[in-house]
Symmetry: C4
Subunit: 220 residues, 4 copies
């Protein structure tokens, strides 16, 4: 069931154009390994057969296809963050635009408060070595998300549904922030407002609602 | 038939992306109660089974699902406005962008004149208490629409079809106002032009035409 | 066959979002009458049964449905322009945005040269009287297109296919002009370049190609 | 099989809106001739029957339909560049917008590094004579792409799959560059970063992945 959810998440992120011909999502398998879509998998027609399992050094432990070259991004986050059970690396348009011009991500709509102020990894290069993965994990720190300059985003969660919802919220907030910047200076939620939003919105039922909404869209 | 229309309205607003994984529409049932889609309902696949009835204090009077947490937004408007028979709370992109940067909504295309100058509730927080609902109802006053800062919109009508058409017109006007602001300063209709537009466009037949247009789109 | 083409043109313009829940296209029937879609017709599901014929004073000569309130826009153009056999009144987003901020339409891409410098009717009010129709026809002059301030566009042609292609080219040029204005000042084709474009592009075969391209899209 | 790939490429580029009612792609047949879609072919419903073969002077050597008027654009590139086996002439929105305002294309996302700094042919006129074709080929030089001012783009490759991927990357990079310019000044990849991107991304397997991604979209 975890693998089905992983596949659904990738398909929904592809349908929502947060993932294109690249991008990968992973699910922790145990302390030392995780499931991830293979490097060559076609995101628009993914099935569980495209999922492999690798250990934190990239050695294949289930499946036969090659893991993506950026597996260290996932591996080093799983190593550094025992609380994380899902990692999604997306190529979201709006979030990335903010990093391209050096504008910090700020919470400008209610769900954005769940992300807070998102750090940026200050290099556009691929995260495909253990050293780069460790840099990304350090930049992520204890937070839910990291932006990769002129490249993409990484979102983590304690389960796939939460991780997916946060990946969607990140991009929705960035989209609104970008759009508002074109005609003025967007209102940034106060600390008290962010706290109120988090108290109300950090709920498994609401994460599931976002998930179900996108799952219904896939049916079209 | 009222409930079918309520469901159609929500489905059309979802298809038009004015409603996403949240958002709710209601229909007055009698002086002290109204129909509304349940909090957990998936907007993309809504049926009349997702509709419940609650009284103005939120007590369920028909159905078993939980009403949305923001029911007080609807309840306090029904309490304050006996003329209102339908309330739609949407999350429209363009209208909300105006509130994020403090730009007032102004009529810049013919149908926009039916909305006039739309007030803004000056808080991004959820309208989920009787007190907040009363604040929103007071801000709405006798008008057809209210914007919620960095959050969304509320549109009211004397029936569902009119309410739906106004919800669409609000967003279309906001979209044009936003877009025009990117390359200049949009022409705002004069009072006389607004009056002429209202005289011509405030017609049940034209509201129905907008409704039928969106209903036909759902068929795709 | 003329009526089928008229219906196809309206359906293609609706699909391309140049026509929404309003908008109408007409075809000259003889010196004193024309075919047009009825006022109440739903553009997304139009058939030849939605077409009526009216004389230049708006008297129904074929069919039973009511002609659109803006029939004088068509009637006065047919009266003033014996060369015109098709008139399309659309609500195109980009072209209208230019009029909202007072930016003149300029040829910035090859097909735009077929429109040249397009005049603007300086009122946002509906063209629903003979007097207003005559003002619009005068503003159009001998040209192929007229913009209606904060309202829409009118394109005329010597046949439906040409008229449709020009309606598409008008909006494509306006879209590019608007988009370019957001990052700079778009290059306007020189008189010699416009002349070269007109010599090459004012061809029935190329108009038909644009038509066939959009017709194929309808099939999706 | 080459012809099937040529047809697929045109259909994918049309679906992605890089090609509209015009635009043509070609495949080298031998030192002195190439395959290309006919001038009148409808891009949205293309089949191999729409492909003809012409020599470098435009004489038909296979098929009966007329080659496009801009065949010299292809012919002169094949004459000047023995390494080129595929040429795609598209009408991409974002790339062309940059040329309309005189903003040079710069690599601002990883795949953009495969294009580098793309030259611009400084005339909006059609490339439909041998002289114009030679000017375009000279402007292209030894590079992978050329922009045509206020008109479109030309991308070349050593095979169809690579050429298609580069055509997509060109437009994706331009889109990001344009969008970022609306809210600031986009970060341009350093020479070292571009070199690292090229080393990683100039791979037949990755070109094929972009191809497969778009091919799967066609299936929808």
């Amino acid at each position: 069931m975890g693998l089905n959810e992983l596949v659904d998440a990738i398909r929904m992120l592809t349908h929502a154009e947060l993932i294109d011909y690249a991008g990968h999502c992973s699910l922790r398998r145990d302390a030392g390994s995780f499931f991830i879509n293979s490097g060559a998998s076609v995101r628009t027609s993914l099935t569980t057969a495209d999922i492999v399992a690798v250990d934190l050094d990239g050695t294949l432990v289930e499946g036969t296809a090659r893991p993506p070259l950026e597996f260290p991004l996932h591996a080093e986050i799983y190593r550094a963050r025992p609380d994380v059970r899902a990692v999604m690396h997306t190529h979201p348009k709006w979030s990335t635009l903010l990093t391209m011009v050096g504008v910090p991500f700020r919470p400008v709509f209610p769900q954005g408060a769940l992300l807070g102020d998102v750090p940026v990894l200050d290099t556009p290069l691929s995260v495909n070595t253990r050293e780069m993965g460790a840099r990304a994990a350090a930049a992520l720190g204890a937070g839910p998300a990291l932006l990769l300059k002129s490249h993409g985003a990484v979102v983590v969660g304690s389960d796939i549904v939460q991780c997916f919802a946060l990946a969607i919220y990140l991009e929705e907030n960035a989209s609104r922030q970008y759009m508002a910047m074109q005609i003025g200076s967007p209102y940034v939620f106060s600390e008290a407002e962010q706290e109120a939003c988090r108290a109300r919105l950090a709920s498994p039922a609401l994460f599931r609602k976002a998930w179900d909404h996108y799952l219904a869209k896939l049916g079209h």
